[in-house]
Amino acid sequence: MIRIENLTKDYGDLTAVENLNLTIKQGDIFGFIGPNGAGKTTTMRILVTLLEPTRGTAFIDGLDVTRHGKKVRRLVGYMPDFMGVYDDLKVFEYLEFFAAAFGIERQKRKSIVDGVLELTDLTSKQSVTVDSLSRGMQQRLGLARVLIHDPKVLILDEPASGLDPRARIEIRELLRELRRMGKTIMISSHILSELEEICDHVGIIEHGQMVFSGRLDEIRPHLGIQSKVRVKVAENRDTAVELLSALPSISKVEIVADYISVTFADGKECNGLIARTLVNADLDVVFLQPEQLKLDDAFLQLTKGIVH
């Protein structure tokens, strides 16, 4: 649905994005991660036709964003990292204005606006002026605006920034709902744990270059990190350590707090063997849990955090 090829954007001497390549399939939620000034917002602005690339191309649903700006704008809903408001308009008027701007017929507008208000839980606020809404409500309104013309692709720049935990959870649920509706979503965020829970793919960008792009479970091999499991036994922990250390597919066993951390030799995950070995030795296994590589950790390992 989204294809970026050798995309470069220069601002004078500064190269914000350099030879960026990326593909996002239809129906995916793609998390776009990077330190401040890495080039995320510039890439998104090029995709929504607000900026022209210096070199390279980007396609949305097969349409070149520089050549077919108007058609691309019909396909894309963009929520920037700031809230642009017309302070003299009420919530309903604001949404209907954008519906009219997208050329939706007047007869259909009311039902569409009512629909997105209901989806974003803003129905009770429809007669309130936009500038008097709280930050969380304004973010919801931003999402409602993005959905008003039923775009196939949603490009959301930091949609959860500045929101309280409840509002973040609500936004996350809303994004899941949108994925169920078949939307392709590109989302940037600094709250990586949230992306982890909703994204199919992530892209990590630094200095305008993509340093990783793929599924979350592909990050560990990409970084050369070995798989780990956490094991907890009810008693005889030392016996368990001895038994596990003797297994050939395990490279390291260590006690961490009240559990045992087991590191597998390259590419040899054998959770079944661990369980069998411990049970055969008459040890009560309390839990056996694969140790996840957190997106935060991957992000820290992949980026140096140097801002342009």
Binding site: R45, V48, T49, L50, L51, K70, R73, R74, V76, Y78, P80, F82, M83, G84, V85, Y86, D87, D88, L89, K90, V91, F92, E93, E96, F97, F98, A99, A100, A101, F102, G103, R106, R109, K110, S124, K125, Q126, S127, V128, D131, S132, L133, S134, R145, H149
Partner: protein
């Protein structure tokens, strides 16, 4: 002990207790703004150009040395008067523009509440803002001081004129800045503040003196001399006119001994002080509201009315219902925004007072049997065209920049609206919003056509004039609005552009013609494209007795009605062509400088 005392004295002398750190902050910010350097450079260039031309016109180089020497004193007086008037007008305008966002920017960026959490008080905020801007204006005035001192060597220019002129200018600038600062607390929009400040000045220094003259002179309560002498105490324009006349007629004694200017300066210092005190109280109230989060928060929930059966009406029902979007989205949005902010009652009261004052002038002229005098209609015509032109300069220049400032512009550009749809909608919005102001002119014309005082052809010719003014200035305003990020900059540039082509260039051409470097025909032809010349010529030919008189253009070849109409149509085509060029450039720039 001694160190503490010295520090206290230094602090007192540095006036930091008056302005707090606000003064330093403002100066630091302004030193980083390119436009301030551009302003100073432009001011010097314009001043030098004026002076060179005034000098060349006053002392022709082709004449003998003896003749030139004999003209030195006269030339000196002309130059000093020109400099004085130039900086008197310019610094007031710049003060109004500079202060137009002084408080509103702090409110909009929510830093006012933040300042209230520090030991800085509202007095320091207001005075710090005013003095920092005033300092820049004083710098502009200081630029001209060496020049005035040198010119004085030529003789004929009394020190009294220079000192009194500078004092009157300074107090007028202080008052202009205070008025603009006061309005910037009430409105966030720079253009609203500029319009309100200019209208206030127009009312205080033009309309009220005219009405005063009507009341006091016509009822023989005061003689003409007494009235105008009295006016010099409360009107800086009349005060400077009086002083300039006194200097030119070598009535130095009147200048020095009259001391009306001193009283005028005290009056305006007091008026500025009063306005600043009101501003301090208002800033404090606004800042405290912002600090406790009341500003920009949802309106308080009203007690919910109980309906039959004991149910309450939902809170959304108690709010006024949203309006549906009809027609062009852009046009609808433009018309939805109130022209002068949300203070509808204050706005309506102002309109009502303005209209009452206007009708009072009609009543006066009717009483004087002067309504069939073409000069009276020319006066009304020029005032109405000036008002219409002012609004048409300001409104289009704010269309796009205000959306850039509120960060809504990128959102609009991600919709499927085309560039021409956006520009067309904005243009239609400008026309609709300017219409009430232009209706004053058309109302006047129609009224006196019906009364048989103005010939009906005036309506058609004024229609042509208004059409091209609106198209031309709207297009240039829209272009500058796409070109710049800040509303204030776009408004100033569009205003300067109009002032340059219709006032500065003709004046420069006149001066060049005076020193025999330019053919007067070219100047006259150029003046014949000026909208103010058009309205004067139209009304002098069509007003007075209902019949049709000759059209006295600068260029004498177009005296008949048909020739005049053809010339107006030609002007309209020319200006509209230029307007289209601006619109085309605006379309090209629409998606640039988005952020």
């Amino acid at each position: 002990m001694t160190t503490t005392l010295v520090n206290s004295i230094v602090r007192f002398l540095r006036l930091s207790w008056v302005t707090g750190p606000i003064f330093d902050k403002e100066l630091r910010i302004s030193s980083r703004r390119r436009r301030n350097y551009v302003l100073r450079f432009g001011y010097i260039v314009l001043l030098t150009l004026f002076l060179s031309l005034f000098w060349a016109a006053a002392v022709p180089s082709q004449r003998s040395g003896l003749y030139q020497s004999s003209r030195m004193a006269e030339a000196g007086m002309a130059i000093v008067a020109a400099v004085m008037w130039f900086q008197f007008i310019m610094t007031q305008l710049v003060a109004i523009v500079m202060m137009s966002t002084s408080i509103s920017d702090e409110i909009y960026h929510k830093t006012l509440g933040l300042l209230m959490t520090t030991p800085i008080n509202s007095f320091q905020i207001v005075v710090g803002k005013l003095l920092s801007k005033l300092l820049q204006l004083v710098l502009l005035m200081v630029i001209s001081l060496p020049l005035l001192a040198i010119v004085r060597v030529f003789g004929g220019v009394p020190w009294g004129y220079i000192i009194s002129g500078l004092c009157v200018t300074l107090t007028a600038v202080l008052f202009a800045g205070s008025v603009s600062l006061f309005f910037s607390i009430l409105s966030r929009r720079a253009y609203v503040v500029i319009i309100l400040a200019i209208l206030t000045f127009g009312t205080l220094f033009a309309l009220i003196p005219v009405l005063g003259a009507m009341i006091f002179i016509s009822s023989d309560m005061l003689s003409e001399g007494e009235f105008f002498r009295g006016l010099t105490f409360v009107n800086p324009y009349f005060c400077l006119i009086f002083m300039t006349e006194a200097m030119m007629s070598a009535r130095t004694a009147a200048l020095m001994g009259g001391a009306a200017w001193m009283a005028e300066c005290i009056v305006f210092l007091l008026a500025s002080g009063l306005l600043l005190l009101i501003s301090v109280a208002m800033v404090r109230r606004v800042a405290l509201r912002q600090a406790v989060g009341q500003l920009g928060s949802p309106p308080p929930v009203r007690p919910q009315p109980v309906v039959a059966g004991g149910d309450t009406v939902s809170s959304t029902d108690s709010l006024s219902a949203p309006r549906r979007v009809t027609g062009s989205a852009i046009l609808w949005k433009e018309l939805k925004s109130p022209l002068l902010g949300r203070r509808k009652v204050a706005f309506l009261i102002t309109i009502a007072v303005g209209l009452i004052l206007l009708f009072m002038t009609y009543a006066f002229f009717a009483n004087e049997d002067a309504l069939d005098d073409d000069d009276v209609h020319i006066l009304y015509g020029v005032v109405f065209v000036s008002l219409g032109t002012l609004f048409t300069i300001i409104l289009p220049a704010t269309c796009i920049t205000s959306e850039k400032e509120s960060l809504a512009w990128p959102l609009l550009l991600t919709t499927t609206l085309g560039e021409w749809q956006i520009l067309g909608g904005k243009f239609a919005g400008v026309v609709r919003r300017c219409l009430p102001v232009w209706c004053l002119l058309f109302g006047h014309i129609v009224l006196f056509i019906l009364a048989g005082v103005i010939h009906p052809i005036a309506l058609f010719q004024v229609g042509i004039l208004v059409a091209w003014i609106v198209v031309f200035l709207s297009a240039s305003g829209l272009y500058f609005s796409t070109r710049f990020r800040r509303t204030t900059t776009a408004v100033i540039v569009n205003f300067t552009f109009a002032a340059a082509i219709w006032a500065v260039i003709p004046l420069l051409m006149f001066l060049v013609a005076e020193i025999d470097q330019l053919d007067y025909d070219l100047l006259e032809s150029y003046l014949d494209t000026n909208p103010f010349v058009h309205i004067v010529v139209i009304l002098s030919a069509t007003a007075g007795h209902g019949g049709l008189d000759s059209y006295y253009w600068m260029d004498i070849s177009k005296r008949g009605a048909s020739q005049a109409t053809l010339w107006m149509l030609a002007c309209m085509i020319g200006y509209m062509f230029l307007g289209l060029l601006f619109a085309w450039r605006a379309r090209y720039r629409l998606r640039r400088n988005v952020f």
